[in-house]
Subunit: 235 residues, 2 copies
DNA sequence: TGGCGAAATATTATCGATAATATTTCATCG
DNA sequence: CGATGAAATATTATCGATAATATTTCGCCA
């Protein structure tokens, strides 16, 4: 049997997800069912199903009889997500440390790629490898529910949003925060690794807040709205 | 405008959710689209949309061209969920404590109802008020992302499953674990409240594990499969 | 008797059309 | 002019039917 079978609705969902992640679809953009149906040369039905899934991933908002739009990610939600992420990754590190038994080769490999991307100033690559790094730790916890909860934060979108906000002045400096985490995991010290990861999340959050404040004060007179800000970030 | 508008698919979703929670639909049960469509006197389309939402709530499993079933909740997943729940509620307490400013009236009210239900041996009421208690703390964190992550654990189903596993020998004793949490919150000690909540989740997890072990050793010869176990628990 | 494969059956995935609802346009009136 | 509301338009929600796929039944043969 063909288990890789893909329904039309699944294809549509992945394409739309990718577009939201890569910024082709910006926060607030309207998604019209028949338009997308035409694009995929299909009927309305699979498009609607795709929308429902995107909605439960919190990537879009559906309002009955009024349509579907790419969800705004408010500054507040961003901060909240960092907080939750910190707690989940702390737990992940604590669970992962005894399971890894000192074998952090995979995680250290991601770390190497992070540093390389930082040196070259490649923001896209940095974001990707950064996600891989954090995901590797979460997956190492071997707790499916935790992995699922973490994935649902859809941090990928948020990380890219974050890095594009302004050109990160010092990507390499930021990358260095990851090193002691791996060192702690290697010697099986989950508590320390967890604490460091949580602090890392907090420091990312604070950097984000500072930037938003800076950006707001610059454009204070004519554009104080978060909605606009997010739209431009994702583009 | 009528913002309470309910689509057919939403109605179907809520009814099916309720049936899964209250045990009318048991783990493993098949859900046939046209059967449900007939029952609600509607077409297949809204039923399918409802299924998609239930799937993203992890209440059912959909396999392309093979149908939809109520999801099994394995023993392992149960344990994993307790672990994640502990971490999320710990964070919630830490965030909530400074915001509550000593006002724990609502939380203490839930606690009273928990004790009352425990005294009367009313398992349904205990489960309900227990959820209200924990939710009240999570909501008090005022972190939407955290609240959402916690709700998604769909702990309601799991708590009922847990309590019905066998008649809880001492509901009142168990209820007492909640009291020091509220005391800590009242004096603004979020760290302690959080630690206690996490320990509470751990102790629930361990009680659960012991029971599963007991039940397994009893029926060891003819029914060692978790699948069957969960099915009967939900009934 | 038991395994194999083709028809029969059951069910899901998708379609094209229509009903229900929201939004826009625009003529009318004060 | 600006407000108002009815028609026109756009879009979503649902329908009934069909195509695609999986499962079952059952006759056939070794």
């Amino acid at each position: 049997m063909d288990y890789d079978r893909q329904c039309m609705s699944d294809r549509i969902r992945s394409v739309l997800t990718a577009r939201i992640f890569d910024g082709t679809l910006k926060a607030g953009d309207r998604l019209v069912e028949l338009e997308i149906a035409r694009e995929f040369d299909t009927s309305q039905t699979p498009v609607r199903e795709a929308f429902r899934e995107l909605e439960s991933l919190r990537l879009v908002d559906c309002v009955p009889y009024r349509g579907t739009r790419v969800r705004e990610i408010s500054e507040r939600e961003m901060v909240e997500a960092y907080t939750v992420r910190g707690a989940l990754e702390q737990l992940a590190a604590e669970l992962a440390a005894p399971l890894l038994q000192g074998d952090v080769t995979e995680i250290r490999q991601s770390l190497g790629l992070i540093h390389a991307a930082a040196r070259e100033g490649d923001i896209e690559a940095y974001a990707r490898h950064n996600m891989d790094f954090h995901r590797a730790i979460v997956v190492a916890s071997d707790n499916e529910v935790l992995i699922h909860s973490w994935e649902r934060l859809a941090f990928e979108a948020r990380v890219r949003l974050h890095l594009r906000r302004h050109n990160e002045p010092n990507l390499s400096l930021r990358a260095l925060e990851h090193d002691p985490v791996v060192d702690a995991l290697e010697i099986g010290d989950g508590k320390t690794a967890g604490r460091l990861l949580r602090e890392h999340a907090e420091s990312c959050k604070h950097r984000w807040c500072e930037r938003v404040r800076d950006a707001d004060s610059q454009t204070d007179t004519n554009s104080p709205d978060v909605q606009q800000m997010n739209a431009s970030c994702l583009s």
